[in-house]
Amino acid sequence: MSQPLLEVDDLRASLVTKYRRLDLLNGVSFTLDRGEAIGLVGESGSGKSLTTRAIMRMLAKGFRTEGDIRFDGESVLGMNRERLRRFRGTDVGIIFQDPRAHVNPVHSVGDFLTEALVRERGVSREDAERRAVQLLDEVGVRHAERRLKQYPHELSGGLLQRVMIASVLLAEPQLILADEPTTALDVTAQSDVMAIIEEQRRARGLSLLFITHDLELANACCDRLAVMYAGEIVEQGAHVYDAPTHPYTKELMGARPSIDERLDRLPVLEYNLEIHEELKARAQA
């Protein structure tokens, strides 16, 4: 039972067309233990979201995925349709950046929350509703019973994101993938939402893969950070935030604005693909 919950081993994803091949993930490897939280950070286009999508096997048809993803020892890439459906529905929960786009505008909050339970798992309507109300309560949604009858457009972004979190928790997953869950929210809602995710994660012993651009936030609520650049993880571990060793990570950490010291200009990253390739070549030699 000491095996990690999620093992990603040399994950590669590329878009292959008739004329060219585009490598987007170049060997991403990390493991996530039960109850552990890992923060995946990196600049836009470095492959953070792509990694989560690959884990969920949500990549579009033109993608070629190689490597190995094991959930609880079981290969995700080898799952059949039915197993994959259960994997997505019950083993893993995913929280998206923009909650409003991910709820059906014509269904009430109650329908949205209870639908999967009632249809796919044979829970009775009353039972599902009771669980939904209880969970909404836990994630800090007040007047939960009234909220069930409301529609997504009647809720604010922060409230809707809490509803999304409740819907994920309702499925009782072991692993949560959070893809920039707070980016679309204002600052106060951000801290509320993160506090809720953190609280629920600890209470339930869930593992979390947290994607963000916010280094402080990632450091505050994750056990480890993994820094991505150009489709690979350049450095990972608990030390990354305080004592980075990789040149890219060093520069990245140095580019943070500080509250104590006033800067007219933030430093610009010197690191680029050329340096990156050269470093890799040197490491191999």
């Binding site: 259960r86 997505r88 786009a101 709820v103 007040r142």
Partner: protein, 297 residues
């Protein structure tokens, strides 16, 4: 937070919103506009007359009063009588039943089949979509009324064969539009989220996608309804649909055509006018109800 604790401005805003909420019926009337309301009244009159025909029609529609044959409007026969002396008003009321019910059936069948095909194509894409689209293209190439005539040629003339035949002709009009809309919805993030919740493709098509394309389904069905009325009346006019002595508006136009040569144009004109009014009212109502641009909030 309870309502009493809300700041005064909020309370005022709430009170305003309450008094200004016009209610569903008022909203509907506003959406219809004067012309739409007129059309609704016309259609309601026709539907009521058709539905209540057995009780309120002044005569048996098939009873020949030979002494009044080809008579014009009189106190005895409000709209006159046809060549066999049958009361035109009564025949108009009975005829409206078939003229309203037949097209409704055509559109119902076409919509159900069309929506199922469209959702199948949109969800599965690939080969399923290709085959369905190909079938729709073939159906598109043939005028709807021809399917009615083919059905009659094979199974003989009666209302149901024409209805089934015509409905095949109307399938592509529904399916094509709904498929496009469903394809668009299918790529929305909320569909992906439902998929990740572990819902089946069937369930997603039915519970997530269908409610979101429903306005388009309704719009398409209503606008096709007007055409179906005309098509069905045309088949009757050709003598290939409902058979005499059953009263039907298309059939009345045809028999009125013969009476016209004998100097009495009343039957053809009243029946023709009734068809025009029905089609006009359906078209106007459909137009008003489905144009979101007109809705005033």
């Amino acid at each position: 937070m309870n309502a009493n604790a809300a700041p005064r401005t909020t309370q005022i805003a709430l009170a305003k919103a309450r008094t200004q909420d016009p209610g569903a019926f008022t909203l509907l009337l506003r959406k219809l506009g004067p012309l739409g309301i007129a059309a609704s009244i016309v259609l309601i009159v026709f539907v009521l007359a058709a539905a209540l025909a057995p009780w309120i029609a002044p005569y048996d529609p098939d009873f020949p009063d030979l002494l009044s044959a080809l008579s014009g409007p009189s106190a005895q026969h409000l709209l006159g009588a046809d060549a066999l002396g049958r009361d035109l008003l009564s025949r108009l009321m009975w005829g409206a039943r078939i003229t309203l019910l037949g097209p409704a059936l055509v559109i119902l069948i076409a919509t159900v089949v069309g929506v199922v095909l469209a959702l199948l194509a949109a969800w599965n894409r690939g080969i399923v979509d290709t085959v369905i689209s190909w079938i729709l293209d073939v159906l598109f190439a043939v005028p709807g009324i021809l399917f009615g005539l083919i059905a009659v040629a094979i199974f003989g003339p009666n209302l149901m064969t024409v209805v089934v035949g015509l409905s095949i002709g109307y399938i592509p009009y529904v399916a094509r539009v709904v498929r496009g809309a469903a394809l668009r919805e299918r790529n929305m993030p909320y569909v992906q989220a439902a998929w990740l919740q572990g819902q089946s493709g069937f369930g997603i098509s039915l519970r997530q996608i269908l409610p979101n394309v429903q306005p388009i389904v309704t719009a398409q069905a209503v606008s096709s309804l007007g055409f179906a009325v005309v098509d069905l009346a045309a088949v009757s006019f050709l003598g290939l649909g409902v058979q005499p002595p059953t009263a039907d508006l298309g059939l009345m136009v045809k028999s009125g055509f013969d009476s016209m040569l004998r100097g009495q144009a009343g039957e053809a004109i009243t029946a023709g006018l009734a068809i025009v009014l029905i089609v006009w009212s359906i078209t106007v109502i459909g137009d008003r109800l489905t144009s979101n641009a007109r809705s005033i909030r």
